[in-house]
């Protein structure tokens, strides 16, 4: 049904862009100062919804990595010597400032990433603040965390984060690192550098000692230089499995500690006795949250054959109500794809779905003229052999497969090199527990999906990486 024919057409309800003041240019944040790159290089950060250039950002190179790691090393001595309670108070300050500035940061993140304001406002920003608040409290309690009576920080952490949850991934990396007494050099993704630079400003507002947090916007070359730097003691990476493997090779034979948060091809398993309406919501949230650009997305729907038609009908009906468009509109459910490159990858894989004979269904919605967009899409008739069932698409594309028995569901769900997330929908308690037991995935959501919390450890099995972020477990990566 098109908008004109709808009785109750929601008028535009845009969040005000004026709450955020984006400067025309930004530097690197090294040793407490914003500076240009040593070689003077810059790059542009673009709003994916409109292709508007938001700002010009200094592009870190090898010399800048050198400078930032040196600054972090200098800062490490006094930062790690600070009583835990004092370190914690800095983190509490940061958490509070993030809460105060959350509206501004939500708008910024939506502009730079393309995700709906509804998500940055209701998910990203509350989780960011909560993450700092959670780890702030750990800073003076590390001896009780189960890693020995007097655990020590590792030193300088080199952290490389992706573009899908820019500020949240920053929080997942920086909060535990700082709580444990490490100093950090963090490289945000080249398509979403702005919120990390605003975070640098928050560090200054909080009075964080110089050099404790250094932010190096840049491309893969800067990330590779950071990871390879001999004075980095700890590498934490979230991103693609291919790059994760490269990093694992590059740190081989060193003393660098490594945690990797990589790709996934999560199975969302719906049994015939599922709470169908909630399962449909879970399927939608599982694959269309953040336009499916989520490593733990439930990108494979495994539905029991006996209810497949019913569930698919309900799913399609629900998808028709999704509102795609201006990410700043408070009623937008589906925003823009983060970049032209990502859109091309999604398009290529979806085309492979067609070519391999799966049936494509696309939600009825109009795509804006400018920006990068992909309509919510389902593929039915998919088998385990299809590329859309095996490869991470990282976009709003759901592959639908069927199964007959719980054992078959487990076998299919586990039949992937990945192992990050899985979902189970059934009203039968014992089956939930049996399934949860057998699914080879780091997080299993039963009768829910895509839930996150700072207290809850998150991370993968197999090629989805190793190490956990969040919770008590998340401290282990930053202590010895």
């Amino acid at each position: 049904m098109t908008a004109e024919h709808k009785l109750f057409a929601y008028a535009p309800a845009p969040e005000s862009r004026s709450v955020v003041d984006i400067a025309p240019s930004y530097g690197l944040f090294v040793d407490g100062e914003f500076t240009e790159a040593a070689d003077g290089k810059v790059f542009k950060s673009v709003a994916p919804a409109t292709e508007e250039v938001l700002s010009e950002v200094a592009r870190a190179g090898e010399a800048d990595v050198e400078r930032a790691v040196a600054a972090a090393r200098r800062a490490f001595t006094s930062w790690s010597a600070l009583p835990g309670a004092e370190r914690g108070k800095y983190l509490f300050r940061i958490a509070r400032i993030i809460q105060e500035r959350s509206r501004e940061l939500a708008v910024l993140e939506t502009l730079d990433n393309g995700k709906p304001i509804r998500e940055t406002r209701d998910a990203d920003l509350p989780l960011v603040a909560a993450h700092f608040f959670y780890y702030a409290g750990w800073a003076d309690k590390l001896g009780y965390a189960g890693f020995g009576p007097d655990p020590k920080p590792l030193g300088v952490a080199g952290q490389v984060i992706p573009w899908n949850f820019p500020l949240l991934m920053l929080a997942w990396k920086i909060a535990p690192a700082l709580a444990c007494g490490n100093t950090v050099v963090l490289k945000p993704a080249e398509t979403t550098p702005l919120s990390a630079l605003f975070f640098a400003d928050i560090c200054r507002q909080a009075g964080l000692p110089r050099g404790v947090v250094n932010i190096l916007p840049g491309y893969g070359d800067a990330g590779a230089a950071l990871v390879a730097h001999p004075d980095v003691d700890k590498v934490a990476f979230t991103g693609s499995t291919a790059v994760g493997k490269e990093i694992a090779r590059s740190v081989a034979g060193t003393d660098k500690r490594l945690t990797l948060e990589l790709g996934g091809k999560g199975a969302n398993i719906v049994f015939d006795d599922a709470p169908v309406d909630q399962a449909v919501e879970g399927i939608v949230g599982g694959i269309f949250f953040n336009q499916g650009q989520v490593c733990c997305a439930g990108s494979r729907l495994l539905v029991q054959e006996s209810v497949a038609d019913e569930v698919l009908d309900a799913l399609k009906r629900r998808l028709a109500t999704l509102r795609l468009g201006d990410p700043l509109d408070k009623n937008t459910d589906i925003g823009a794809i983060n970049s032209a490159e990502q859109l091309a990858r999604i398009t290529e894989l979806a085309d492979a779905g067609d070519a391999e004979g799966a049936q494509r269904w696309t939600a009825p919605c109009e795509l804006p003229d400018s920006g990068y967009w992909f309509a919510p899409t389902l593929f039915t008739g998919v088998t385990q052999a299809h590329r859309v069932a095996r490869e991470e698409i990282f976009g709003p594309v759901l592959s639908v497969l069927t199964f007959r028995t719980p054992a078959e569901a487990v076998a299919k769900a586990n039949n992937t090199p990945y192992g990050l997330s899985a979902g189970v929908w059934t009203e039968k308690g014992s089956r939930i527990l049996a399934m949860a037991d057998r699914l080879r995935a780091g997080v299993v959501w039963a009768n829910t999906f895509n839930k996150f919390d700072p207290t809850s450890p998150f991370g993968g099995y197999k090629e989805s990486g190793f190490g956990r972020e969040g919770g008590r477990h998340g401290l282990e990566a930053y202590l010895r």
């Binding site: 049904m1 709808k6 009785l7 109750f8 057409a9 929601y10 008028a11 535009p12 309800a13 509804r118 209701d122 006795d273 599922a274 709470p275 169908v276 309406d277 909630q278 919501e281 879970g282 109500t321 408070k330 009623n331 009203e427 009768n447 829910t448």
Partner: protein
Amino acid sequence: MPRIPTAAAGPPASLADVTASDGALRRFLHGLPGVDPVGLEARAAALGTRSIKTTAKAYALDLAVSMIDLTTLEGSDTPGKVRSLCAKARTPDPTDRTTPEVAAVCVYPDLAAVAAEALAGSGVKVASVATAFPSGRAALEVKLADTRAALAAGADEIDMVIDRGAFLAGRYLEVYEQIRAVRQAAAGARLKVIFETGELSTYDNIRRASWLGMLAGADFIKTSTGKVGVNATPANTLVLLEAVRDYRAATGVQVGVKPAGGIRTAKDAVKFLVLVNETAGDDWLDNRWFRFGASSLLNDLLMQRQKLRTGRYSGPDYVTVD
């Protein structure tokens, strides 16, 4: 338009056998998909974050006014009170004649005649509660007599309560037969079946009651009497909306929904309309298919209308107290 079920309408042929016996009915109702409370409430809350502005808000406010069953159900109700409420129903905002009239005035059976007289010539319907409202604790004969009295007094619509005791004791067929009996007694009137969701307690029960009511020929399914602790909530109304949506998909028969009790602000009412819009859809965005059982809601809607018209906030002295 989908056909309106009449007194003659029992379960459609496709579902005829589910009411053949107590066992069959139990198996059917217990075979409906379960409801996960957390997921349900999260969905209702998420829809509550829709931002309805400008033209959409104007549309929603007028629609909400037109969907109100303006209600007084007190022991202290008098003919004077009912007449004044009817005047309000016909002309909600004397300062703005573009304001739509409400859908119905809802009273006890003994005051239905007063309402019928006061509403004559308007489009506002007379709704009467019946069947030993609100507890429903009376013999079937008494309930039927109550219903007939309301109809005889001029009620266009009957708001009956189900026997929650029988439902909770698992005597589903008994509840079904009672609704059928009232349905027949109220032939020609629109029948709203009240579940008292706060007493059924679980969302699974509310879903089962919804199907039970629809199978028995309800024109509307209604959350509550307004007389218990938990009345209409976004979540239990969402369960009802899912039920009517699925029932129409299964049978072709469209049934209305009426949340009642506890909806007091225009902001809440608009959110309920968002629930309707994104759950059951366009076809229910009409007072033929969706009602609010409310009293104080109307004045808040009127104040919001005034705000939208004039750009300044209104106050309680600028709407009528009836």
